[in-house]
Symmetry: C2
């Protein structure tokens, strides 16, 4: 898996338009391409195009492109089983060619550099900071906005590290703040400065000049306002998952990023789940062929989270009388009906089909069942006469969302949090060559795989052997470090990526555009349901840059 | 399961409007109700209403109603976990009451009759012909329209029976006709009269006066025209599955039924699959609670069916050079993009939530992936230079359809026939109390169940113990008879129901309204996809009668 295979393709200069003249490599292998342009003097757009098994005349789709100065090779990663590559420069509307290609398998940059140098095929060195980068900031100074139970898991991850200093924490909940400080003390580190003076005191934390970056793990409605404030204050943002309260919030966070250039990482931990990353790895190896259809969701019986005072297991309070998430999360079930928690299901499959990086979501539509589960739970635990038995919940028990993508894939998302059921995010990844689907919570043996010409005809195989074999290089490298970290280790990876990218000043694998797109599912699904299931256009938050942005997530074993 | 439990409810006469005054039975047990009205002189509408665990002021929904002459008890079946029953008569806009109730568990009519007589609670005898009926036509004379491979499975079922005579068969394909006659001869029965003179010769078969009923198992585009011709000719119709070519065809078949009163049975065999019927049984026992969400589909790699000449396994011909279904089925993939085969997924879940019988589909929307699989298969088997490698297929590889129902359930249907994958119709049945989902092809151990307060918390259980325990009474009774019949025995049941209903002149469990509704998914999904996933209103083919029509499917162990 990790050994390097170099396949060199040298092309003569073509004069015709690229769409008509790409070079169809009819090969079954995912590959990356180093595009090296010499003998030119200007910056060009180098465009990677895809054309798997297409008959003559079939439209080919742009999947990735980059812009680089001359005489510098660029590592492009590409997802398809069959890649057709052409590099050209844009000068107004005319196109000219001047390119050489080299394609390679992944994951060993050092070996790649050594071999390409040895191969002597005219490549100059990779720009080190482009994808991986060297550490230029060895110590990261962190603030935490909201240190509830989720914020404290990030705190724990940070406390394990010698390259992070916890400077300050903001949370109006003094009990949670005390718990967080206790964790710091237990780790033998210096107490953080506290900002507990109401919900807006985080703004004073943001005024500090000794903080590089903040984690935001507050109640959902605070995420984007706080993220925007942080960016405006020059603080790099690590943002927890949820959905947007309204669509404009997604634009606001994108616009703030574009104005301030302060980066934001979307802390979607399920992207780093071990089985997910193994499947991601298999997808990028082309094992499922060209990806067609994906499923995911948040299928998690949250009734004990949405109700309760943290003491009595039959307590069905929420809001002011609640504890932790029942204090604020349940309120979202009162007035809105939509997929209020889309990113755990969407994020992992989004990276597999390079959404916002050669692909994008164009439309979605949502439907909802009736609302029964929360009322039923209140009656069951609290009795029919409990005051909360009179509460009407607008949120339907199960919300399904159909998503359409620019490159022709479909995604089905499910939100299922009000009913008795085992935890299962319901992933399915299907391509022209086979599929994976799972029913568990991340173990390698709670899924099934079928691959054409590999599996016995028409018979499922257990997923374990595959997921073990294709264990992602990142997990192979860091599984020991991840032991004991939250959510089966995935919290280590997502927080490690956040810190390592900051240290190197390189692009986050999941960024503000991903956040905006994934968060937007919530208000758009609410609108769709309100309109009886009407299809909704999903904004292109990248404003066209999706056509040329490159995948970053999972392309190395670095972070 | 089969033992009878009688629970008697006697109510005094109420004078108020029923919607405000039903009797909420807060009980967890599915039940049937015998409504017996005495001391009245006119026909009344008896209305069964449902009100599960509803807070005061919550809307209650009408789920079933029947109209009967006085002094006749009526067996009403009801699906809900918690049933609130009231019977009233309609006289203009005012409502008056006069009712007694008795509720019972299912499946043993004889024991029921004996016990109710013994109980002496004032019930007169069931009208024998209402649901089950006595045999009034001991011998059924059958014609077969189309005797391709599917028609021949119906023929085989008929040849096993002593109560059926095969009179005539129509098919323009003389090879298939010869195969069919061979089957008849092998069974030692008299050869059928042949109609092989082109595709319209079936009309001459329909002119015969010695045929009671016809099976129609022709290529899809012929189903509804032939069905309509048959009804107009007074021949009862057993219609194979598919989707409609256009929405108006669904109206035409309904209107023909309403004009002629010649009944039609929708031969959806998957409704009779053993695991499906066990789950249906569990649903009707209320074990999953109030049903919220269902999934099903047709996930079957059809590539070897859509291509081939019946000889060479690498042959990728279709159309005139094809064999059996590749002769005509593949053509549907050329020009349309929709769920072209919805009934195997929809039918089984439709009966669980009483669609067209107290519930109905209101809307659907569909999305489709790109089209890759068929072209890829042609290239793989026939080579890139095969003439069919130039063919463009409009049908997307995977089509997903979201369905909304009047009673607040959602259904997700999947069509997935162009990709390598194990056969699996992908059923999931989920209620307020738990869920079942499966990944196999009907075996009792290829699924999982979770039931609140029954299963270990947050852990799946294997489905086998449940499905064995709740084996449907129909399967318990007839499993020996079904051995060796097509599709794991389900073909026995669907054909047996068709014949037994004809013999008794009673309503088919799956009728022309079911056919119209299920078939309509095809043209409506095509329209939705053409419009970018726009939601489509689904017609009420019952013209309001869904509010009062009663469930018939699976209510007994008779057929």
């Amino acid at each position: 898996m990790n050994s390097l295979t170099l396949i060199c393709f040298f092309y003569t200069i073509k004069k015709k338009a690229p769409v008509a003249t790409e070079y169809p490599f009819r090969r079954k292998a995912e590959r990356s391409a180093i595009i090296n342009v010499t003998n030119t003097t200007k910056s060009y757009a180098y465009v990677l195009q895809q054309g798997p098994y297409l008959p003559a005349g079939y439209d080919r789709k742009l999947t990735a492109a980059i812009t680089m100065p001359d005489n510098q090779p660029v590592l492009c990663t590409q997802i398809s089983t069959n890649v057709c590559i052409s590099a050209y420069k844009k000068e107004g509307v005319s196109l000219r060619y001047n390119h050489k290609f080299i394609t390679m398998n992944r994951y060993d940059r050092r070996k790649f550099l050594r071999d390409t140098t040895m191969a002597g095929i005219g490549l100059s060195l990779l720009q080190p900071a482009r994808l991986f980068g060297s550490v230029i900031k060895p110590q990261v100074r962190i603030g935490l906005i909201a240190v509830g139970l989720r914020g404290q898991t990030h705190l724990e991850e940070m406390l394990k590290r010698s390259d992070v200093d916890i400077i300050a924490m903001a949370d109006p909940d003094k009990d949670m703040m005390a718990m967080a400080q206790k964790r710091i003390a237990k780790a033998g580190k210096k107490a953080a400065v506290e900002y507990t003076n109401g919900p807006h005191d985080y703004k004073n934390l943001l005024k500090r000049d000794d903080i590089d970056a903040v984690f935001i793990a507050s109640p959902w409605e605070w995420h984007l306002p706080q993220g925007i404030d942080a960016m405006n204050a020059g603080k790099i943002v690590g943002m927890e998952v949820c959905g947007a309260q309204k669509l404009q919030d997604c634009w606001d966070v994108v616009n703030t990023y574009e104005k301030t250039k302060v980066p934001l990482m979307m802390l979607e931990n399920v992207c780093y789940r071990r089985d997910i990353m193994a499947v991601h790895h298999m997808v990028k190896q082309g094992m499922f062929g060209e990806i067609l259809h994906l499923q995911g969701g948040y299928q998690h019986d949250l009734r004990t989270v949405l109700f309760g005072n943290g003491k009595d297991k039959n307590n069905v309070d929420f809001g002011e009388k609640g504890f932790s998430e029942s204090k604020w999360r349940t309120a979202h079930y009162l007035h809105n009906n939509g997929d209020n928690y889309p990113t755990h299901g969407l994020g992992p499959v989004a990276t597999m089909i390079d959404l916002n990086r050669g692909n994008r979501i164009t439309h979605l539509s949502s439907v909802s069942t009736k609302s029964r589960g929360l009322h039923r739970y209140i009656e069951k635990k609290g009795g029919a006469d409990h005051p909360n038995a009179k509460v009407k919940f607008v949120q339907g028990d199960i919300v399904t969302t159909q998503i359409q993508c620019a490159n022709g894939e479909t995604i089905v998302l499910s939100l299922d949090t009000c009913s008795p059921r085992p935890y299962n995010l319901g992933f399915r990844v299907q391509g022209t060559n086979g599929l994976w689907q799972e029913y568990g919570s991340g173990a390698s043996d709670t899924g099934r795989i079928y691959l054409e010409d590999v599996s016995p005809y028409d018979e499922w195989e257990g997923s374990k052997a595959y997921l073990d074999k294709y264990d992602h290089p990142l997990w192979q490298r860091y599984s020991k470090d991840a032991e004991g970290s939250g959510h089966g280790g995935m919290d280590f990876f997502v927080d490690n990526a956040f810190i390592e990218c900051i240290k190197r000043n390189v692009a986050f694998p999941l960024d503000v555009y991903d956040l905006a797109t994934w968060y937007a599912v919530t208000p758009l699904s609410e609108k769709s349901i309100l309109e009886g299931g009407q299809v909704q256009a999903v904004p292109d938050f990248t404003k066209g840059a999706w056509k040329t942005r490159q995948p970053v997530f999972g392309v190395s074993n670095e972070f």
